[in-house]
């Protein structure tokens, strides 16, 4: 890999940005707590519709890595690096991150409806999204039919993102992600191996790609199980109802 050097002045800027983030961590923590309390105030966004939630502030060292990568990229393309302390919070939207984890993909529509209700009721501004990232054709179709933008994900994972803001004036944002428990497993494995730096092991990278396919199949299988289960229950309920109406009918005397 060709090494592009970040000069002293650029390194200083990155330090400044990371420190600025650290100085404002409390603000972002309060924002994150507010998002959590908004979501938990919903009667619907809890089991069985959702499995669990997670929240985190970005580790300052991960921000440093991200900024360095962007800086190297800008240097390579001979472009200007555009991030300053003035616009850090509007350029980097995942400093505060909140995640909603559910069991299977087709639950998403109901989660999306309820999440938008809650955000509206509590005067949050939906700054961006929802937008889905997926590489799976069938799921792309699903998100399209319920009106969610879909981007191709080169990373092989499937999840839906929302960027929200507290008001018009303040730039700080919180990213809300919605994904299935299976995708969470894939994401956790990928994150441990490939973050912040991509693994240099060919076989690890290969296996993670395969894991994505297995994950996708598993998610699909869970969808199928739940849809079969529902179908079976409806069928059984129908039969019971039939049985009842049959019973109430007076029997013919022999």
């Amino acid at each position: 890999m060709k090494k592009v050097i970040i000069n002293k002045q650029q390194r200083k800027l990155i330090d400044e940005l990371v420190n600025y983030y650290i100085d404002n961590k409390r603000l972002l923590q309060v924002l994150l707590d507010q998002v959590a309390s908004s979501v938990s105030s919903s009667q619907k966004l809890r089991p069985p519709l959702i499995h669990s939630v997670k929240s985190r502030l970005k580790d300052p060292e991960h921000l440093r890595d991200k900024l360095q990568r962007k800086m190297v990229e800008a240097n390579e393309k001979q472009k200007r690096f555009m991030i300053t302390t003035k616009n850090l919070f509007s350029k980097i939207n995942d400093l505060a991150g909140y995640r909603i984890i559910h069991l299977h993909t087709t639950q998403f529509q109901e989660i999306d409806t309820e999440l938008k209700n809650i955000l509206g009721e509590q005067s949050w501004i939906l700054h961006e999204g929802p937008s889905a990232r997926t590489w799976d054709d069938e799921y792309r179709e699903y998100f399209n039919t319920i009106g969610v933008d879909v981007n191709r994900s080169p990373n092989l994972y499937t999840s839906v993102h929302y960027i929200i803001k507290a008001n018009k004036d303040n730039p700080v944002t919180c990213e809300i992600q919605v994904r299935t428990l299976m995708e969470e497993v894939w994401g956790e494995v990928d994150h441990s191996i490939n973050y912040p730096h991509k693994s240099e092991s060919h076989s690890c990278r290969e296996q993670i790609k395969v894991l994505a396919r297995v994950t996708s199949s598993s998610s699909r299988l869970v969808d199928s199980i739940f849809s079969s289960h529902k179908d079976f229950q409806e069928h059984a309920a129908g039969q019971m109802a039939n049985l009842k109406t049959n019973k109430t009918r007076p029997k013919k005397k022999k």
């Binding site: 603000l27 509590q122 005067s123 501004i125």
Partner: protein
């Protein structure tokens, strides 16, 4: 980080709001307010006093006991005239703030009378603060309630200066009052406890300002906000005796300690948040000094008037008091000139 430009309640009246604040009691806060208000009034300014101390010392100082009793008896009726009369519908969840009128005192100063029941609202304010952190509209309405009441009266009476008389404590009521102020003044006696008190005062103020800054940055659009930037206008030295034309020695050593402490425990602490919150240099922090006018205090309390407008008392003393307070009043006018209040 870019602050939400202080847009408190969209139409904040231009009157400059000032608190005389020291959580250490017995520093002569109420007496100071009355005299400063009278001096400003003599200079042609329209002054409103707001009694937010549930002990109602200011109200009792200025108004006859029978009238105060009557106000307190009737404060929950439709004709209620105290600060609690205005707050009650909101506090009890039965409606919006009630608009009230200020009373005019013999010195031509306006007063929003205090009320012992204000302590009930103080209890609500703990929950209200939590609600502000949770972005709940009710929280913002509660935090700005007193500010709104004052705004209504200031508009109606075309007020130039509002002075809050606050209780001697670090509580949630004083928090919303201080965050509503454009400036604050620290009345300090020449004693050890007054010096010690400045440290806690500086730290609690700083944490209130920081908290409110966080709250307002994350507030939903269109909720009422407090300005949350009380600037340090200086301290006023009191309760010292003169000896042969100079401050008696026992007091002057505390005066020097106060000067130092005001700088390190107030000015430097506030500057860490924002340089604009405390501009003065070490020696500029003293807004004025008022010696012990012991006999005038009694006449002044009896008549409900300032030291220099009482009918009793020695002329020389009254003149001296007038000079001291007029100088403080002029300092206040000069230092608050050009305050960016719309």
């Amino acid at each position: 980080m870019a602050k939400k430009t202080s847009n408190p309640s969209s139409d904040r009246h231009r009157a400059i709001r000032i608190a005389l604040y020291n959580h250490k009691g017995g520093v002569g806060k109420t007496t100071l307010i009355i005299n400063i208000a009278a001096a400003l009034s003599k200079l042609g300014k329209r002054v409103l006093l707001v009694d937010t101390d549930p002990q109602c010392n200011l109200t009792s100082y200025l108004v006859e006991a029978s009238v105060v009793d009557d106000w307190l008896d009737k404060s929950e009726t439709p004709n209620g005239a105290t600060i609690w009369s205005a707050l009650r519908p909101f506090s009890e969840g039965i409606g919006e703030l009630k608009s009230i009128s200020a009373s005019e005192t013999p010195d031509g100063i306006f007063l929003i009378p205090g009320d012992i029941r204000l302590s009930r609202f103080e209890e609500d304010l703990n929950q209200i603060w939590i609600e502000c952190f949770q972005r709940k509209v009710h929280g913002f309405k509660g935090a700005t309630a007193i500010s709104e009441i004052v705004n209504g009266v200031a508009k109606k009476e075309k007020i130039d200066f509002v002075f809050y008389d606050v209780g001697p404590n670090i509580g949630p009521l004083n928090r919303v009052v201080l965050l509503d102020c454009d400036y604050f003044i620290i009345p300090a006696a020449c004693d050890l406890f007054s010096v010690r008190a400045l440290k806690t005062l500086g730290h609690s103020l700083a944490s209130w300002i920081r908290d409110w800054n966080t709250i307002s940055q994350l507030a939903p659009d269109d909720v009422p906000l407090l300005p949350g930037q009380p600037k340090f206008l200086g301290y006023i030295l009191q309760r010292f005796k003169m000896y042969g034309g100079a401050m008696a020695e026992a007091f002057s050593s505390y005066a020097a300690k106060l000067e130092k402490s005001a700088h390190s425990d107030i000015v430097m602490v506030l500057r860490e948040i924002d340089a604009n919150l405390a501009k003065g240099t070490l020696s500029q922090n003293k807004l004025g000094q008022v010696k012990d006018f012991s006999s005038l205090v009694i006449y002044s309390q009896e008549e409900g008037k300032s030291f220099f407008t009482v009918t009793d008392g020695a002329e020389g003393q009254k003149q001296e008091a007038k000079t001291a307070f007029t100088s403080i009043a002029n300092n206040i006018i000069a230092q608050t000139k050009g305050h960016s209040s719309n």
